[in-house]
Symmetry: C2
Amino acid sequence: MLSVDEAHHIIIENAQKANCQTENIGLQNAVGQVLQEDIFADRDLPPFNRVAMDGIAFNTKAFLKNGNTFKIEKIIAAGDPAYTLQNLNACVEIMTGAVLPQGADAVVRYEDVTIENSIATVIVNSVNALQNIHTKGKDVRAESLLINKGVALSAAEIAVAASVGKANITVSKLPKVAIISTGNELVNVGEIVLPHQIRKSNSFMIDAQLQQWNINATAYHLNDDLTEITVQLKNILINYDVVILTGGVSKGKFDFLPQAFDELGVQKHFHKIAQRPGKPFWFGSNNDAVVFAFPGNPVSSFVCLLRYFKPWLQTYLRQNIENHFYYALAETVQFKPNLTYFIPVKLTNDNKTVKVAKPFFGNGSGDFVNLKNVDGFLELPVGKDVYEKGELYKFINFRNI
Amino acid sequence: MLSVDEAHHIIIENAQKANCQTENIGLQNAVGQVLQEDIFADRDLPPFNRVAMDGIAFNTKAFLKNGNTFKIEKIIAAGDPAYTLQNLNACVEIMTGAVLPQGADAVVRYEDVTIENSIATVIVNSVNALQNIHTKGKDVRAESLLINKGVALSAAEIAVAASVGKANITVSKLPKVAIISTGNELVNVGEIVLPHQIRKSNSFMIDAQLQQWNINATAYHLNDDLTEITVQLKNILINYDVVILTGGVSKGKFDFLPQAFDELGVQKHFHKIAQRPGKPFWFGSNNDAVVFAFPGNPVSSFVCLLRYFKPWLQTYLRQNIENHFYYALAETVQFKPNLTYFIPVKLTNDNKTVKVAKPFFGNGSGDFVNLKNVDGFLELPVGKDVYEKGELYKFINFRNI
C-alpha cells in the first residue's frame, strides 16, 4: 500500500501538470486569491518627504542660528501641492501626510510648540534634522518588487496593491469543482429520514470547507447503480476540473466507482493509502478532470480533503506553499498499526506553556461530532508505536484561529 | 491615556449592550457564521447498529457452536431496510453503512472470508461479539446537545447540523458596516496620482479584512471639510450599524472628525490609547451606530481593526470567544516608551523548535509593505523595557495559516 508521502507526491505531480488559467479581477474581490503577477512600486514609498506629525516645519540651520521662534508663513494640509519656504528663517504649520516644504528639514509636533500672533516658539531644546519626517523612498524605492507572484493575498497585500494603483489584478482562476455523494442510504437534509437511512452530511462538509478556500462547488448525488453512475459521471467529468466523491470506493459489492472510472477512461493513480482514517481513498484523472474519491466515513473524507486536496489546490493555483507547521503533542500516544495516524487535536496554551496539540480521539472515523472539540489533525507518521509527549508533528488545520 | 486593557474593556461593554439580531439561513450559506441555536441530536448517532466493514454478518454463538462455515441467505447494501436473520446459523453478506440484521452480532471483513457456492468460510480463528459494528448511539444519544449556541461554524459543525436535518439554521445577523476614508491627499486607486497625493489603500485593507469575517462593507470618502463631513456622516450613521473611519483623528488643524462627532451627538468613549502604533484611535457611539475612527497610518489602522474591532464583532455576534493564543518571542526586543507595543511577527518552526514569533520591524506605522513578511502582531504589554526571547505574548493574526 502507498505511504502518505508517496500519495502526496503523486497528487502534487498531477497538480503541477494541470493547466491553471489566470484572470484579471477587481482588487476588491481579490482577498484570498493567489496572485499571478509581480507587483512593483510605481514610485518611491513614501512618494515624497512625508510629514509624520502635526506641528511646524522649518529649517534646522535657522533654529541653530536664530533660536526658537519662527514666523508662520503658511498652513499646509495633507493633499496640498508641494510648497517652497519663502523665507528660510520662517516656518509653516503642517499636518500629518503633507509634503515637507522645500527648504524645511524638520517637524516639531504641536505638543512641543506654543503659537501666538502667527509666531511659533519651540519649547524643546534640541531639534534634529529629519525628525518626524518619513523620507521619500524610505520604505520602498520606485520599481522595486513589492509582492511576489504566488502569494495568497491577505488584507495587507491588498493595501499594497491599492497603493500602487492596481485597481485590477491578475490571479489564478479557481477550478470548477463538483462534489458527488454516493450511497442509497443517504437522504437530503430537509427530507424525512427512515430508520435505516442517514442524511447527507459529507457533501455539506466538503462544500463548506471549499467555501473557506473561495470555491463555490456544485453538489450531485449518485445512487449505487453502475449504469446510472457511469452515465452521470461521464457528463460531470466533461464539465468540471475537479470531481470530489465520497463513498463507494471500499470493498463492498455496491462500490461501483472504481469500475465506473475504468469504463470512462479515468486513469487510476492510486487506490488506498497506509493511513488511518481514510485508507480507501482513490485518486485518478483523465484529460478533462481530476478525481478525488474519498471514503464515505465523515472523518476519513475530511482528513483526505485537508491532507490531499488542499495541497493539490495550492499547487494547481501556483501558490507559494509555506512550510507546514509543527506542534508538540500534549500527551503520549500509542498506536501499533503500521499506518500513518491522523489524530484530532486542539491547539492550546494550557498552563501557560507554548502552544501544544491536545488529542481528542472520539470514536473513530464515523464520529464527526467529536470534531467540535478540535482545530485540526496532527499527522503521526508510520514507523513507530509510541509518539511521546513533547515531540513535534505536522499540524493540519480546518478552523481559522 | 487609556491602557490597551481599559480600551478593550470599554469596547467589549459597548458590544454587549448592542442588540444583535438573528436570522434563519440555508445551511449551505452558514460556514463561518455564529450559531444562535443549540443543535440537538434528533436520534441516536449512529441511528442503528451500523456495519463498519464490508464482509459477512452472523451470530457469534453459531460460530462457537457450529464452526466457521455459514450459508449466505442474503446480500444487504447500505440503504436497505432493516433485516432479520431467518436462520440464526446462517449469515448475510453486508456492506459498510448497512443496518446490522436482527440476530447477527458481528461482522467479519471480506479479507478474512472465502466464499464458494453461497457458503462463506471464516478463515480467522476468533470472532468477537460486536466486532466491526458501530453500535447504535455509541457516538451520541438522541436529544443530547451536539453544538452549543455561540460557535463559529466550521465545516465540521456544518456536517453535524446536516446529519440532524438542519436544512436551515439560526445565526447572528452580521452588522451593516460603512468604511470611510478621509483626507484630501487621497485619490482613487484607478485614477492619476499627482506627486503630492497618495492612493487610497486603508479602505481596501479594511474591506478585505472584513470580507475574511464575512462582512461586505460599503466604502465612502470624505474630504477635510467640517460641513461636508458633518452632513454626510449624519446620513451614514443612520444607515449603518458600524462606521469605521481612517484618518482625521490626530492633532491636525484639518482633523475635523472629533468635532463632527460632537455636533452629531456621537458620544466619545475614548480618544487615544497608550500603544504603538495606533495611539490616536477614537471610539464612540450614538443610538444608531458605533464609530471606530482609526488613525490614518496603514499599520496603525490595521492593528486597531484586528485588536479592537474583531473582539467587538465577536462579542456583538455573541460568539463564544476562545482564549487568545500565546507564542514565544524568537528574539529579545527592547522598547523604552511607556506604551503597549504591537510588533509584526512571522510564526515559524525555525530549527525544528516549537512554533515561535519572529519580529519583522519594518519602518514603523507607515510601512505596510513590511507586512508581507509576517502573519500578525505580537502584543508586548506596557510596564517593561526588555521582552526576552522565549517569553510568551499574545498573538493577533491576519493571515489564515
